[in-house]
């Protein structure tokens, strides 16, 4: 072989070897490490969600890989290819999805925000996408048959707000303040209206403020002016905490209810030195938190997360932790680590996987997913001023829009 030909052949081999390795690794079919994807908001305005999701996913992967998992007789470990949507799902997120699903051919992808922006890409290249946080109403599941949700949606917890408010706080009328143009908040308000009607609680006033505004005094004035027994704030944590601050600054001292999943760290950061006073008489109804859950495995996870990262674990952390176990169970059931369609079909058939910590409530046939939604129990938490933290005052389930199996707890702040 002439030297020039040899150099050409070696160069071609040098190019092809990593490409081949990349191809087999990313498709997850090499019999050892299976790779799946996760598109998270690890920087930007939603990094408050993406960063803890990644931490919990890493804990879940480490836990799963201690034993590994078996697919078609072969032992595997799991690895996650993380992609940052930079809090901009519509542009960066879609590019990342194209890269993970189309270029790297990863069979399953976890994600946080931006469901609607991913739909066109999913039509071009279907792949199972498991959402770790978005509980918006109406559900994201209606957007694509490839979306799955690893958490309950808003209708599984909002009825608990009104149920608890009426029976335990004596609330007969409620005012609602909504962030106009923010999907989660607008969905919550619809559900609060429905639940209030079902519970016989009067909606005294329903005011809104434009999303992005910095002064809420007009919406607050309308809500407080109706003299309600309680006020419900409809939106996400970053939006409702400034509203709550201005609400208290305006002199309102009554109960405040929301479904934002505010944790003590966020309360302290956003509300400042007065956070303990502002959070007084505050009630949050959402999915169970790992810290307040009755489930011992969830509590153990919460302790491990706090010890490792020195931060309060949000509810989304336990769902993220369980993602690797769910993927492994689906792959084992499907008998493949690469065929997304088969894995997606298997997702609908698996039972609650061993090793998960969230305390999943199985559906018919003990299946984890019911109509592509897995869910945990819901709860109402209250703020305990003495401990400057949250405590669960009621756990419950919701069926057909009504609260079932409520478990009330007393003296939770002692």
């Amino acid at each position: 072989m002439r030297p020039r030909t040899l150099v050409t052949a070696l160069s071609a081999s040098a190019l092809l070897v990593p490409l081949a390795a990349c191809g087999s690794g990313s498709s997850g079919g090499d019999g050892s490490t299976v790779k799946v994807g996760a598109i998270l908001s690890m920087s930007g305005i939603y990094s408050t969600l993406g960063a803890p999701q990644k931490k919990a996913l890493q804990m879940g992967v480490e836990e799963l890989n201690k034993q590994g998992f078996t697919v078609a007789g072969k032992k595997h470990t799991l690895a996650i290819e993380y992609a940052d949507d930079k809090s901009d799902a519509a542009t960066t997120g879609v590019t990342q999805l194209r890269e993970l699903a189309q270029a790297q051919k990863l069979p399953v992808i976890a994600y946080g925000n931006g469901s609607d922006t991913y739909v066109p890409q999913l039509k071009r290249k279907p792949v199972a996408m498991l959402n770790l946080i978005d509980s918006v109403y109406p559900s994201i599941l209606r957007l694509s048959p490839h979306f799955w949700r690893v958490r309950g949606d808003s209708p599984t917890y909002v009825p608990g707000c009104l149920y608890y408010a009426k029976r335990q706080l004596g609330v007969k009328s409620i005012s609602v303040i909504t962030a106009k143009g923010e999907g989660y908040g607008e969905g919550l308000t619809q559900l609060v209206d429905q639940s209030a009607k079902a519970e016989g609680v009067r909606v005294a006033a329903s005011s809104q403020f434009p999303l992005g505004s910095t002064d809420y005094s007009n919406a607050i004035r309308a809500a407080v002016g109706a003299k309600p027994d309680a006020i419900y704030l409809s939106s996400v944590t970053a939006v409702i905490l400034p509203v709550l601050k201005q609400l208290r600054q305006s002199g309102y001292t009554g109960p405040v209810i929301h479904s934002a999943g505010v944790n003590p760290n966020q309360a302290k950061d956003i509300l400042g030195a007065q956070f303990n006073t502002i959070m007084k008489d505050n009630y949050d109804c959402a999915g169970t938190l790992p810290t307040t859950s009755d489930n011992p495995t969830a509590k153990a996870f919460a302790a491990a997360y706090q010890a490792r990262y020195n931060e309060y674990p949000q509810d989304l952390t336990m769902w993220a932790h369980d993602f690797p176990f769910i993927v492994a169970a689906a792959m084992a059931k499907a008998g493949t680590t690469a065929d997304s369609a088969k894995i997606e079909k298997a997702l609908g058939e698996i039972t609650v996987p061993q090793g998960t910590v969230s305390g999943w409530l199985p559906g018919d046939g003990q299946r984890l997913f019911t109509e592509r939604m897995a869910r945990t129990a819901s709860e109402v938490t209250t703020w305990c001023s003495t401990g400057q933290t949250l405590a669960s005052v009621m756990t419950f389930d919701v069926k057909n829009g009504a609260v079932v199996d409520p478990v009330l707890k007393k003296d939770v702040c002692k």
Binding site: Y46, N218, K245, G251, A273
Partner: protein
Amino acid sequence: MIQVLVNGVFLGCLFAVVAVGLTLVYGVMEVPNFAHAGVIVLAAYTTWSVEHAGAPFVVAALAGIACGGAVSVLTEVLAYRWIITKPAAAPAVALGLLLILQNVALRLYGGEGRSLDTPYDTVLLKAGGVSLPGVKAALIVLAVLSLGALHLLLSRTSLGRAMRAVAQDRDAAAMLGIPMRRQYALAFLIAGMLGGVAAVAYAPTFQVSPYMADDVLLSAFVVVVLGGLGSVWGAVAGGLVLGVVEGLGAAYVSSAYQSAFGFLMLVLILVLRPGGLRTTDARRVA
């Protein structure tokens, strides 16, 4: 009704302080300074950082205002100065600067909101059925003081007269020996310090975050156009009018469309008085 007007005055004062900074820069340099929102953000974070380090609020606030001035001057020295003969490039440069400043804040402090605590956080003023939180009252006081000081500077000092001369006719001012670069830097310094005042005054009612000033900046630009481009007192009047109109619209139509009332009024003013509330044939800063 009085409560609505009080809220409107609060909003108007906030808009006015931000808008005067914008109109000052526009009057002198003809730059639509979108980066002003980034200046406000960095001033707020500086105040938060200094306070967080244990300094009293007043010291932290002064540091924030100084930071606002310094960052604003930097934007002029490093960017705007180089495109003064290319006014068409100004909007793109301004938007680029805004992105840079916001991302500096994002990089340094993350996306989470932060609280700016003040000694008057828990104060609530009440009189005849009207209430006003201490943080909002403080904003009104700060706005009046800073705009009053600006008025004195522009009308009673040689620096102010020189700035007005530059705003009215740059070429003539240069021929008269007025140092132009110093005037540009001075306009940005004052605008930045006003941005710092806005940050220190309204962050305690809201939160400190990289995007905290976006909405306010938009309203402030409405005010600048309402008041007449380059007119300081037009901006003050426009700010108060916008605040009250938004408040009345929110109270009697819908609070969901609070910002929309401002834009509706802008369209009306532009149709009826295309030059703004204070029409002028020349650019001016007073």
